[in-house]
């Protein structure tokens, strides 16, 4: 996998760990593990290279790695080239916002905050988006639980 944006990223961010996923089912061309302090810089490179922020979500890995992990998809649309950027956020700490770089990040970051409680510093409106105002829970946390527990099925039914 070669791409002009990769050369810029690698020259500016020596700590970036990139994996070529182009021929796998991963659905992205390159996956990058990025330090939290590099996120804004990397996003700026993607923005200036004409990429859009297609998706942002979060994984609750508190049980194993004691971390939240943010998953960004930066995509170039013509030709399609998708970069997945993974950023670790320690429990209780904030991630930097990139909503000043990508308008779409505004709602995506609010969704992550709503679902996981991971907040973004300097976000213009860090409020809940899908659950109600004043809620005291973050439903996609692994310890939030469900009413009935896992659905039974298959051989267990």
């Amino acid at each position: 996998m070669s791409s002009p944006v990769l050369d810029i990223l690698w020259s500016q961010f020596p700590h970036l760990e990139s994996t070529d996923c182009a021929d796998t089912a991963a659905g992205c061309h390159v996956s990058h593990a990025c330090r939290r302090e590099d996120l804004v810089g990397i996003s700026t490179v993607f923005r200036e290279s004409g990429y859009r922020l297609e998706m942002l979500t979060c994984l609750d890995e508190r049980a194993g790695r004691k971390m939240f992990r943010l998953v960004y998809h930066f995509t170039q649309i013509d030709p399609v080239e998708r970069h997945r950027v993974l950023v670790d956020v320690p429990v209780g700490e904030q991630a930097p916002t990139i909503s000043h770089l990508f308008e779409s990040a505004n709602w995506y970051e609010r969704e992550v905050y709503d679902m996981f409680g991971v907040s973004f510093s300097d976000h213009p409106d860090m409020t809940r988006i899908l659950t109600e105002e004043g809620a005291d829970y973050h439903p996609l946390l692994k310890d939030f639980g469900t009413i009935d527990g896992p659905v039974k099925g298959g051989d267990d039914a």
Partner: protein, 375 residues
């Protein structure tokens, strides 16, 4: 005192806040728009979503991959077939499952019929929002035939669960094929009538032209996809750019316009109806005989540990599924990147400066489905 009746300082004495929705009929579901107005002009608009949040992503973490199948079509209930089949295709790609040719063609036929039915519903309701009741009846009459056809094979009218990992549940019969062909012919004859009634109607044109511009720059910043993006002049379509299933075997155009206003979005969808009809006809003419399920589908679906992403083109744009597997039968995490979520976010910018009456047209023209935004 509540915001609504507060009289401000002199300079903003003329301004006020208005809640449009969540019960407003033109919001197509439960969407609330918090508008800040001066007279009839919108100073700022803030869409408030979440009223139909059912936590599908949470549900996905509590059941196995097969059990999640019925959830998919309940996210976007207007293009449920596309979501359902798209989810199957995602899992098939992850576990490397081959789908029989006949099933691939049947999937394309059903998905495109579903896309037409979604566009027809949008067509009718947009016109109804604008005050034209007759087109709504035309559209629903035609849409009803699609629902009947899909009901024949899937047993559902709206929330389809027709796809399976490795194929589809039922083979199609001659009745399905003849009725589909008859419908295609019928709708082709009907489209000129639609044009006479609506597209060439000067009242309709005046209501839609020149309002609600979503330009290329806005599309880019907000990650807008689907007909809204194509109306702005960007020829992007997942079926063409990242072909999935067998879409690379069909000859179809990706309609685009350049202005990005309400009328352009309208025209793009109208042209898409014709293109989908043509895909359906091509698929029926090439439909091979054979099985509709893969011979060996694993009883337990447990993808290898890892992260996967798969996207399809729904009636509203780029629908992406981000699936994280921990190697067991229960997914670690599923995230759905739904098109309307990003498309609706543009309203904060697009509605600024327009009037309330135009808001109805603009909101109608971007074709949002709230349960898909809220998930």
């Amino acid at each position: 005192m509540p915001e609504l009746i507060r009289v401000g300082r002199d300079e903003d004495r003329d301004t006020y806040h208005l809640n449009m929705g969540p019960q407003h009929p033109s919001t197509h579901g439960v969407l609330r728009l918090r508008l800040h107005l001066k007279g009839e002009v919108i100073l700022s608009a803030d869409p408030i979503v979440g009223y139909s949040h059912r936590a599908h992503e949470k549900m996905a973490e509590n059941r196995n991959y097969i059990q999640f199948l019925p959830n998919t079509s309940r996210m976007d209930y207007l293009s449920g077939m596309i979501y359902n089949v798209g989810y199957c295709q995602a899992i098939e790609k992850i576990i490397g499952l081959e789908v029989p040719e006949r099933a691939e063609y049947i999937r394309v036929i059903c998905c495109e019929l579903n896309r037409i039915s979604s566009h027809l519903l949008w067509y009718g309701t947009l016109l109804m929002d604008l005050g034209g009741f007759t087109p709504f009846l035309y559209c629903f009459e035609d849409r009803e035939r699609i629902l009947d056809i899909l009901d024949l094979v899937s047993g559902s009218r709206l929330t389809y669960c027709y796809g399976r990992f490795g194929g589809v549940t039922e083979d199609v019969d001659d009745k399905f094929l003849s009725e589909t062909l008859a419908f295609c012919k019928h709708l082709r004859n009907r489209l000129p009538e639609y044009d006479d009634l609506v597209t060439n109607n000067v009242i309709f044109q005046n209501r839609c032209k020149g309002i609600g511009h979503i330009d290329k720059k806005t599309c880019h910043e907000f990650a807008v996809t689907g007909p809204c993006q194509r109306a702005a002049g960007e020829k992007r379509d997942v079926r063409r750019d990242e072909p999935y299933g067998i879409y690379d075997r069909f000859d179809f155009k990706v309609p685009t316009r350049t202005g990005g206003d309400c009328f352009d979005r309208f025209m793009v969808r109208v042209e898409e109806i014709s293109e989908s009809l043509s895909i359906v006809e091509q698929a029926i003419s090439k439909l091979p005989v054979g099985p509709v399920m893969a011979p060996k589908v694993p009883r337990k679906i447990a993808p290898a540990k890892g992260e996967y992403y798969f996207a399809v083109e729904s009636a509203r744009g780029h629908f992406g599924m981000y699936i994280v597997s921990n190697g067991t039968e229960i997914p670690e995490r599923m995230h759905f990147r739904t098109p309307s979520f990003s498309n609706l976010a543009t309203m904060r910018r697009v509605l600024k400066g327009s009037t309330i009456s135009d808001t109805v047209a603009i909101l109608g023209s971007i074709d949002i489905v709230l349960p898909e935004i809220d998930r």
